[in-house]
């Protein structure tokens, strides 16, 4: 469909030929490419920015707004803002109470995660110019942050090593042949397995031995731990819940429905309230563990709904065909139904993952866990930084934006690779 040349719209009349040019009648799409660049640019500007009088007005209004936002942002970032509140407190914001002597655990974990991202990118996708630009921009941002005010040269080098790991992993896998073969299957299995193992491995590295306990997970590190635990736990809980809700056995479907609807009925803030006040009698344990349980339970209900939607979207013929070839119910679910349902439900599940990533900010509102936003609140209570509230909050927002934006881009890539949404 998209390979065909665009059909010219009625209002798009071919331009009169430039003087001194031979009159050769070509199809319009070829005509355009023949004309010199300056003409093409002028035409693009005319068509996209100044098509008519009202269109010009719209462009001017939008341009004014954009210019206002840009000048405001530039003025704020480079002139009026005092970023010392961030640069001075970068360790507090990044890892808070994590013992500085054990910082190597953080760097090793980051390097592992970055390597895995690189491996996954190389296996299932490839990096375009925009991806390189994004990595470069984020890298420059982080390095600037750490180099500012000195005394963090080593952190910059560690971060650069982590980025090098990312590219190393990427370059390693992207060169492997892509055509379907046993080798390729094994490559995908290994990378997928490594990714699945990464969370426990990172937790092991962070928490085993030394003087580090779960309580030391603090600042941005806490966000980075809580969100994946919530997402993975949510999917693991969501699949049986969705199957249970769709089950033909009344007792199972009713209880699963009740669970899903009750969890979705109250806001996450309310469930964190439960973690603090009510769960102590039921599961006890450290608050950070309870927060993880609540994140997983909460996400699970939403994931279950998305998977159930996908189950309902499957044509009945799929079930019937599976039955006809004599698969048992377990085989049907495992081989026919779930793979398709999960594939359909990837986009909303990634949306939920982004949402839970953003919602990790809520733990410091109710629970005594200091994640990035909580530590930003501490930073602006320090002596010299009381007026720098907006700077601190803008910084926190930007950090969350970077990760969430990356997740949404990756999900778009997965959607395109899997052909989801195409009909």
């Amino acid at each position: 469909m998209s390979d065909l040349p665009p059909i010219p719209r009625p209002e798009q009349r071919p331009l009169p030929p430039a003087p001194g040019q031979r009159r050769i009648v070509l199809p319009p799409h070829r005509q355009r490419s023949r004309r010199p660049r300056s003409v093409r640019i002028r035409e693009w500007v005319r068509k996209n920015l100044f098509p008519s009088r009202s269109g010009t007005l719209l462009t001017l209004v939008a341009g004014t707004i954009l210019a206002g936002i840009l000048t405001g942002a530039v003025y704020f970032v480079f002139v009026s803002a005092n970023w010392e509140v961030i640069t001075h407190n970068r360790w507090l914001l990044f890892a808070g109470g994590f013992p500085q002597g054990e910082a190597w655990r953080l760097w090793v974990s980051i390097a592992i995660v970055f390597t895995l991202i690189g491996l996954a990118y190389g296996t299932w996708s490839s990096m375009g110019r925009r991806d390189h630009l994004f990595v470069a921009l984020v890298g420059a941002f982080v390095i600037f942050l750490m180099a500012h005010g000195g005394a963090a040269a080593w952190s910059s080098i560690y971060f650069l090593i982590a980025v090098a790991c990312l590219y190393g992993g990427y370059l390693f896998t992207v060169r492997l042949p892509r055509e379907t073969s046993t080798r390729r299957t094994w490559q995908q299995r290994i990378v997928g397995g490594l990714m699945a193992l990464s969370l426990p491995v990172v937790l092991l590295i962070l928490l085993v031995g030394g003087e580090v306990g779960p309580r030391n997970l603090d600042g941005f590190v806490l966000n980075l731990i809580l969100a994946p635990v919530g997402i993975v736990g949510g999917i693991v809980l969501g699949i049986p819940l969705a199957l249970g809700r769709a089950s033909s056995m009344k007792s199972i479907s009713w209880t699963c429905t009740a669970y899903i609807e009750i969890v979705r009925g109250a806001p996450l803030l309310g469930w964190l309230f439960v973690a603090l006040f009510i769960l102590d009698d039921i599961i006890g344990g450290d608050l950070i563990v309870r927060a993880m349980v609540v994140m997983a339970v909460f996400t699970g209900a939403y994931m279950a709904e998305y998977i159930r939607g996908a189950l309902q979207a499957l044509p009945r013929g799929q079930y019937e065909a599976a039955q006809a070839v004599g698969l048992t119910q377990t085989q049907r679910t495992r081989l026919i139904v779930m793979p398709q349902a999960l594939r359909i439900s990837i986009p909303p599940m990634v949306g939920q993952a982004i949402s839970i990533w953003k919602d990790t900010t809520l733990v410091s509102v109710i629970l005594p866990l200091r994640e990035l936003k909580g530590n930003a609140d501490s930073a602006i209570s320090q002596f010299e930084f009381t007026p720098d509230r907006i700077e601190a909050y803008v910084f926190v927002s930007v950090i969350f934006w970077i990760v969430a934006f990356m997740m949404s881009r990756i999900s778009q890539r997965v959607e395109r690779a899997q052909g989801i949404g195409e009909r």
Binding site: P267, L269, F273, D281, I282, I366, R389
Partner: protein
């Protein structure tokens, strides 16, 4: 062989019990119910429900609740459940306004994202990508912080045309109040006017329907909407004058450090509502864009072919059809607005969640308070669903 009907088929081997479908289901369900009951019993046992009860909600509240509108209920003399209801009312206001505004933002930005104007489309995309990918909590606290820092303090209040004031204590605007009018009637007289307005409204709607029917029958334009609006406006004006101006506009004034008269939109309310609007608006915009793109291209082309303007094409052809597609997702977003309104906890707005927290802090009974909270949120969600289902039923009544 098979042509010998006289030979009776041997009776089938009895299927062992454990392979019988009914039996297996029974066992599975039994096991499941057993495990669930065990879990439920464990939770029940751990929860220590001996003191479970809602009597504490009837005790005096002994705290004040800010951000009241219309209601002016004093927390020192009233009981806790009354103050909780004040909090519910505050939440409902935020949810209602945020839903309206976020829909508006969503439609405008969603259409702008598909604009043929490059700059407008980019601007809309910038908005969506920024606000969809940052935490709502940060948006709310940032809007609040920016308003507190950016707006002038009350001593240097910004006056707009002598009738509105902006300071970081809020935006004060004129507000209609019942008045004695020409005839010196009591306040309840305004009710008569409202009743008259409703009557005029019904008449206007009847005329509209008749003219629409005419339009359909004859194919000639009968300007149903213009007629209805005209009838309503004229009727409202005439009844207003005839009843002796029972409503007057209260202009705000600044006295010392506070606003008197008029109505004040408080910064806490504004921050929460704007935060919710911007955040939900970004999601709504994506939903609107998606449903417009899902329409067949032929719709646009047909509209072009019959010579509709871009505005007509959008409002008459594209949006009404896209509406059916987007309603379920939009409803989901409205339910999210309901739940996200609990972020009032992070700005200084006394919504139901914060009031419940205060009560819990004073009286304990966390389980009961949580029960109350979840039931309230579910009720509001239920209300939103009912309204949206009604709209959905109306929109999808006419088949394509």
């Amino acid at each position: 062989m098979s042509q010998q009907p006289s030979t009776p088929l041997p009776p089938p081997d009895p299927v062992p019990l454990i392979f019988q479908r009914g039996f297996r289901r029974l066992v599975q369900q039994g096991a499941y119910i057993g495990v669930t009951a065990l879990l439920a019993w464990y939770v029940y046992d751990a929860l220590n429900l001996r003191e479970f009860g809602f009597g504490f909600l009837d005790d005096p509240a002994a705290f004040k609740v800010a951000n009241q509108w219309i209601t002016d209920i004093d927390g020192v003399t009233n009981n806790r459940i009354t103050m909780y209801l004040v909090g519910v009312w505050s939440s409902v206001r935020v949810i209602f306004v945020a839903i309206l505004l976020s829909t508006l933002v969503g439609v405008v930005v969603g259409v702008a994202r598909l604009s043929s104007n490059w700059l407008v489309a980019r601007l809309a995309m910038l908005y969506v990508e920024v606000f969809r990918n940052t935490p709502l909590l940060m948006q709310v606290v940032l809007v609040y912080a920016i308003f507190l820092v950016g707006a002038p303090i009350i001593q240097e209040v910004l006056v707009i045309g002598d009738f509105a004031f902006i300071s970081n204590r809020g935006l004060a605007i004129p507000w209609p109040v019942p008045d004695a009018g020409w005839w010196g009637v009591p306040d309840w007289f305004v009710g008569v006017w409202v009743a008259l307005l409703i009557a005029v409204g019904i008449i206007a709607m009847t005329v509209r329907r008749q003219r629409q029917q005419l339009e359909r029958d004859t194919g000639q334009p009968h300007f149903a909407n213009r007629w209805a609006f005209g009838i309503f406006a004229v009727g409202a004006l005439i009844s207003f004058i005839a009843l002796g101006l029972p409503v007057s506009i209260d202009r705000p004034i600044v006295e010392g450090t506070r606003y008197l008269e008029g109505i004040v939109i408080r910064p806490e309310f504004a921050a929460l509502t704007i935060g919710l609007t911007l955040y939900t608006g970004a999601f709504n915009a994506e939903i609107v864009r998606g449903s417009i793109q899902a329409l067949p291209r032929g719709q646009t082309e047909a509209a072009n072919a019959v010579g509709l303007s871009a505005y007509q094409r959008m409002t008459l052809i594209i949006l009404p059809q896209a509406l059916r597609q987007m309603l379920p997702s939009i409803t989901n977003q409205y339910l999210n607005v309901n739940k996200n309104s609990s972020l009032a906890y992070a700005v200084l707005y006394d919504d139901l969640f914060r009031v419940a927290g205060i009560i819990q802090n004073k009286a304990g009974h966390a389980l009961e308070m949580f029960f109350v909270i979840i039931v309230t949120y579910m009720l509001i969600s239920f209300l939103i669903s009912v309204v949206m289902n009604f709209i959905n039923a109306r929109v999808t009544r006419v088949g394509v």
